[in-house]
Symmetry: C2
Subunit: 266 residues, 2 copies
């Protein structure tokens, strides 16, 4: 029998969110699990890190026997960084983030704290999977989603993704269960648009804004949201590495290396 | 004579930082300029957006005659979103972010608030340039850097970058001036590693951590830091779009679409 893998879990909804507890429950029979998650909700913080204020790490007791559970007064990326450099003695075999309430699809991967934790992980050379659900009910049907968690992790343990690639998994709305299966697909064109709402402070009289967010669906038949609507669990291999636009380097060299000097007087 | 371009400027060091004032000074003779910048420093916040607290927008007077200067109690990305949807009547022709004190090179583009503002811009279809300097002195020699600003902007106005591509410009240390020219290069492998420093609270007695950050240089001769050390201004065309790892989609389909079902009991 092989040694149990060591899995670090985090999220961006905060350590008290039900999604992370279900994530933990769905893997703790199969793995040694350490939980390091933000003490408060950190949605849409992207890869934000906390460098101007200090961070506290505190032990959290979920139930007797759970000794490897920690809260951090920072972002999901702070959690990964502190877990690896201040909490754990050894690198974990994998890092899992979620289960996020609300999907992280399309361009949302760049803004999501849930996905950011997995970007940080693969940049540090550790395989990672983000789990989110396209469901905005107060309590998605986590037991149904949980059935998928460890089988997906197992496949990635057996067949590691290349360096710099994470797996971004989204579940359909719970009411579509039983789900039709897993669909490996490309990142869709979904994006969140702001929708500012101007209000007036009740006593001070000044204006303020709620930024607002409205999900714009991918219009295509192959977008992530299209598969989610059809009842498929979507899995997108997301690569974060060199973002250079190499197709345009040559034309840029001409513009900037040869033709700019005359305009600049040193 | 052609109409002056309308340029929106922001930063992540905050509206009171000297870098943004120099940016403004270096373009206001050539363009209609609107400034919308964070009221406080927002370094390393990445694409973080503020959705759980309201945001205030306030007019800032830099000097008599500067009427288009606004502070926002949020992140650089919040600034772009509110500028486009709550402050400006029309889309600007370009968005400029900086001048950041400290470079944004290598993987730092994913964490930087300065660069995030330009990522948000190109995702919204507006050309954008980030300016930072590889200089950690309290006051880099901004007048020297400023000479490069408008000539670079002009080239991008005349020869627009493709959709989804921004230009990430970094200046060498001021002491290396006069600079050797502009070098168009690929994103380097530089990265910031955390370096946590554990301390004890003076009265409460509990521990806390400073996350810490240490720049790891690219070892190669072609990395951004190598060119900066040689006295070149670096310019990297950075593309943010579909991050799908298409090379691995077929093998993933096999793992997840065909071979996972047996492990899952709906």
């Amino acid at each position: 029998m092989t040694k149990q893998p060591h899995i670090l879990i985090t999220n961006d909804d905060g350590i008290h969110a039900p999604g992370i507890r279900h994530l933990w429950n769905s893997i703790r029979q199969h793995a040694k699990v350490t939980v390091v998650a933000p003490i408060s909700e950190q949605s849409a913080v992207g890869l934000s890190i906390t460098i101007r204020t200090p961070l506290r790490i505190e032990k959290v007791i979920w139930e007797s026997g759970s000794h490897d559970t920690w809260s951090v007064t920072g972002t999901p990326t702070d959690c990964i960084k502190l877990a690896l450099r201040a909490i754990l003695d050894q690198k974990p075999d994998m890092i899992i983030s979620g289960i996020n309430r609300g999907s992280n699809i399309g361009r949302g991967v760049l803004y999501s704290g849930t996905v950011a934790a997995t970007i940080e992980s693969v940049l540090q050379g550790i395989p990672a999977i983000a789990f989110s659900c396209h469901d905005y009910n107060v309590e998605p049907d986590y037991p149904t989603l949980s059935k998928y968690i460890y089988p997906i992790i197992q496949q990635i343990i057996k067949h590691p993704l290349p360096k710099g690639t994470l797996l971004n998994v989204n579940f359909p709305e719970s009411k579509l269960a039983p789900f039709k299966g897993v669909k490996v697909t490309a990142q869709g064109n979904e994006w969140w648009g702001e929708d500012p709402d101007k209000r007036i402070h009740p006593s001070e009289g000044h204006s303020y804004y709620w930024l607002g967010a409205k999900l714009h669906q991918d219009e295509g038949e192959e977008g992530e949201s299209a598969w989610l609507r059809r009842g498929y669990v979507t899995a997108v291999p997301v690569h974060v590495g060199d973002l250079t636009d190499r197709d345009h380097m040559e034309s840029m060299k001409e513009l900037f290396e040869s033709n700019l000097e005359a305009a600049i007087t040193n």
